[in-house]
């Protein structure tokens, strides 16, 4: 899942869970049934998990552009000498 997808998934999850809770509470209060409230909320949680947890395509519309392997070979990683790596360890 790409970054935009993750953000969307998180927002969807929060909004859907809170709305399920609100709808469940109001329904339960008006109907005078605690059980109805719990059932509606459970259904809401299940629906939210089906939409936000799996790696759906609509959550991957902005995929990360990884560097092509052939292009990567043209720009090798800089080789670090022993002394320079020791200095880095010291700085940490």
């Amino acid at each position: 899942m790409d970054w935009q997808g993750q953000k969307l998934a998180e927002q969807l999850m929060q909004i859907m869970l809170v709305s399920s809770a609100v709808v469940a509470f109001i329904s339960g209060y008006v109907l005078g049934s605690f059980q109805i409230m719990l059932l509606i909320y459970a259904a809401g949680v299940l629906l939210t998990s089906l939409i936000t947890v799996p790696n759906w395509p609509f959550l991957n519309h902005h995929p990360l552009k990884w560097l092509d392997p052939s292009e990567a070979e043209k720009h090798p990683k800089p080789v670090s000498a022993n002394t320079s790596s020791k200095k880095k360890a010291g700085k940490k």
Binding site: A21, G28, G32, M37, T52, V53
Partner: protein, 167 residues
Amino acid sequence: MHSIGYRANALLTFAVTILALMCAIVSLSDNLNSPSPAAQVQVLNINWFQKKPDGDDEVSLTLNISSNLQSLFTWNTKQVFVFVAAEYETSKNALNQVSLWDGIIPSKEHAKFWIHTTNKYRFVDQGSNLRGRDFNLTLHWHVMPKTGKMFADKIVMSGYRLPEAYR
């Protein structure tokens, strides 16, 4: 939110937290209920009144308990526990409370009732102080919720008196 496990964990944690908040609000909504319970207890008969071999007084009563506790029930009520206690004062104890009968009311339909019964639990004194004793009969109730705070209250009915002599 980078993996399924992460998202599932976040969703479940948030869902349970919201559930806890919902239960708290449900319990608070019970305060909006203003109950109007009514009760009456009659002592129909003093079956017997004796001093036990160990020296304590004991009395057996036949009671008629009638009550309407329907207004106590809300959507968050699991059951109502109700009991009748005899209360009196002696020189030994400032307050004696003896539970004579109790019951569980499972739903609103059962909350308007009358029952004709002898005392379910024995009315025994700590000593021999019951002759001619004035006592109150108190109907207590505990409204047990499905979630949250339990409410308890009572109605005190006074004016009862035990006989002057054993029978």
